[in-house]
């Protein structure tokens, strides 16, 4: 049965495609929400849902699937997209994949094809969100530091000794040691190595 309670989104202008895919996904234990046009989906407010993915038809009247993909990218929506299409032209599918789609399936497809792609998309979504929240956590931790502490931090992860940092910043070695302790305490970490790993994750630049 379903692990997540969020719904998978289906965007397709064909009623029976929406209906049959809904049945299929529900039979595999997922919750489903349907939209008959890209515009409806954009206006729904569901675009920022987490732990979900979008099953998207390429050719629709009005805004088509590829347009929607571009639109979502432009508003930093990272929900993974699985394209389904009755037209299998290669340039179109290559473009869609390059722009970040999880998969591009041509109709008619097997249940396994779709469900596997959904699994992949959901795990991608999960990972992405986890990664995002880790980064946010780290950022929050760093926000707790004073500007002085941040300066010290930059030098610490550059691999400088306390002595050297004291010289660079024109403060005493003892002050450096005190800052260092504060940093480790505030951020709740135990070793320098961990500090380096964390700051690297958020792309924090060392002093040199």
């Amino acid at each position: 049965m379903s692990e997540n309670s969020s719904s998978i989104f289906i965007v397709d202008d064909d009623f029976s495609i929406r209906s049959s895919l809904t049945m299929l996904l529900e039979s595999a234990g997922y919750n489903v929400e349907c939209f008959s046009s890209a515009t409806d989906f954009l206006e729904s407010g569901d675009i920022h849902s987490k732990n979900t993915c979008i099953v998207l038809d390429v050719k629709m009247s009005g805004l088509d699937g590829l347009d929607l993909q571009k639109e979502l990218t432009s508003i930093d929506c990272i929900t993974p997209i699985i394209f389904i299409s009755g037209h299998g032209d290669i340039p179109m599918s290559v473009q869609a994949m390059k722009d970040g789609a999880v998969n591009f399936l041509t109709k008619p497809f097997d249940d396994d094809q779709l469900l596997d792609a959904i699994k992949e998309a959901l795990s991608m979504a999960r990972e992405a969100h986890e990664k995002q929240s880790r980064i946010n956590q780290i950022k929050q931790k760093i926000d707790k530091l004073t500007p002085r502490e941040i300066e010290v931090l930059k030098h610490l992860i550059a691999g400088l000794l306390n002595k050297q940092i004291a010289f660079e910043l024109n403060i005493s070695e003892r002050t450096v040691k005190a800052h260092r302790k504060q940093i480790l305490d505030k951020m709740g970490i135990k070793s320098m190595a961990e500090l380096v790993r964390l700051t690297e994750k958020i792309g924090f630049e060392p002093a040199i």
Binding site: S27, K59, F109, D111
Partner: protein
């Protein structure tokens, strides 16, 4: 010689015989002389009779001469008459059509010898039995003969009637019959002069031409449909996709522990419904692809437009075109052939889609409207938002082999026009007030 008695009384008396002897003429005698013993000559005695006789003779001669002359004139005119008769007989008898002159009482005044060649019955046979003429006409065409009624014609050559006859040998031939009433100089009805022409060949060519035209219409229909193959395949692929998903969903439901009967049922119903959707497209295609004789019945133009649109659904999506539909539900029915009318709209719609090829997606609008035309009949308009048609080409586009496409044949509009006109309607092109052009079709309602 005896001397004449010499007295006064006898002084002037002379003897004719003496005078004669002495050759003395009367003029030499003195005045008042009397001549006796005149011996009249035969001539002098009978000159009156003689003259009379001679005169009578002369008159007789004149009369004879006159009679001879008359006879000669008569003979000449007889000769001329014979020649004229021969001339007109030749003119009449050497006609290759079968012609005749029928008296008001039904008997035959004259029948051309060509009669036998045309209908198999000799002119003698028909003379003897004039009823053979209506008799030889084929059952189905007898009504045409009866309605035309030679005897009521004025002396006017009208357009002929056509009917089939069964010749004496049993062959079927097409005849074109024209006739005029014969009125003599006194205004009396002298019957009917008729002309019957064997037009069997002409009718054969007409049938062949009609058949070819029918084939051409069919071929054009096939060409239009084959250009839609990609879109039609997509149209069928959609329900196929759904059917597979429904079936696989049902299989999964059945593998679950709990009772998913309701879900399985829903899935199966979905399969049936989508199967019907696909079947509808297939059926419609089959109808359009079939070669069929024209079948006229009451037809609703709105449903024709809708069925054509259902085939073009995918085509619209592929071409990113927006449809604006404005159907008047109150329009009357039309007498017509459903397949041919579908062909017309298929043609108009694909033309409109093609016309907008170069236009940017947002502005591709195809507008279709139907409405009742004033009195009766239906007005249908198919408008695109392309570049329009040059004013001087608005009529030319309906001509055969007129196309602006490099791979086009150019018969679509020509055939559409021919179909519309055979339904008693009209078709024409206009440019829109805004972008693009429209084709308008007017079809008369059921009579």
């Amino acid at each position: 010689m005896v001397n004449p008695v010499q007295n006064e009384a006898t002084e002037r008396i002379f003897d004719y015989r003496q005078l004669k002897r002495w050759s003395i003429s009367d003029s030499e005698l003195p005045e008042g002389s009397e001549i006796r013993f005149i011996e009249y000559t035969f001539w002098e005695d009978h000159w009156k009779q003689i003259v009379l006789i001679i005169a009578a003779f002369v008159i007789l001669l004149i009369i004879i001469g006159y009679l001879i002359a008359q006879k000669r004139i008569l003979r000449l005119s007889q000769v001329e008459l014979i020649q004229t008769k021969r001339k007109y007989k030749t003119v009449a008898d050497y006609t290759s059509d079968w012609e005749y002159w029928q008296h008001p009482d039904g008997s035959m005044a004259w029948i051309s010898p060509s009669c036998e060649q045309v209908c198999g019955y000799s002119s003698e046979l028909i003379s003897g039995n004039p009823d053979l003429i209506p008799h030889m006409i084929r059952q189905g065409d007898k009504r045409i003969w009866e309605n035309h009624n030679c005897k009521d014609n004025k002396r006017v050559i009208r357009k002929g009637i056509r009917f089939r006859i069964l010749t004496k040998q049993g062959e079927v031939r097409w005849i074109e019959h024209t006739c005029q009433k014969v009125i003599d100089e006194e205004g009396k009805n002298q019957g009917v002069r008729a002309n019957n022409r064997d037009i069997t060949d002409r009718e054969k060519y007409k049938t062949q031409t009609n058949k070819l035209q029918s084939e051409l219409i069919h071929v054009e229909r096939l060409a239009t449909i084959s250009a839609l193959t990609y879109a039609l395949a997509h149209e069928i692929n959609q329900p196929l996709t759904s059917i597979r998903s429904y079936a696989q969903a049902a299989l999964r439901f059945m593998q679950n522990d709990q009772d998913e009967r309701e879900n399985v049922e829903k899935a199966l119903q979905g399969i049936v419904s989508d199967n019907k959707r696909a079947a509808a497209v297939v059926n419609q295609l089959r109808d359009l692809v079939k070669k069929k004789d024209v079948e006229t019945r009451a037809v609703d133009i709105n449903s024709i437009v809708e069925s054509v649109l259902s085939l073009l659904n995918s085509e619209f999506i592929i071409r990113n075109t927006t449809l604006k539909l404005n159907l008047d539900r109150e329009i009357p029915n039309i007498d017509g052939d459903s397949i041919q009318l579908q062909q017309v709209f298929l043609n108009l719609l694909t033309n409109a889609l093609d016309a907008m090829e170069g236009v940017i997606a947002k502005k591709k609008i195809l507008a279709i409207s139907t409405k009742t035309n004033n009195s009766e009949g239906v007005l249908i308009s198919v408008a695109d938002s392309g570049i329009g048609i040059p004013e001087d080409k608005l009529e030319e586009i309906f001509e055969s082999f007129h196309t602006s496409k490099s791979d086009g044949i150019g018969l679509g509009l020509a055939i559409s026009k021919s179909i519309v006109e055979s339904h008693g309607g009209k078709i024409w092109a206009e440019n829109n007030a805004s972008a693009g052009a429209r084709i308008v079709v007017l079809l008369p309602g059921t009579i």
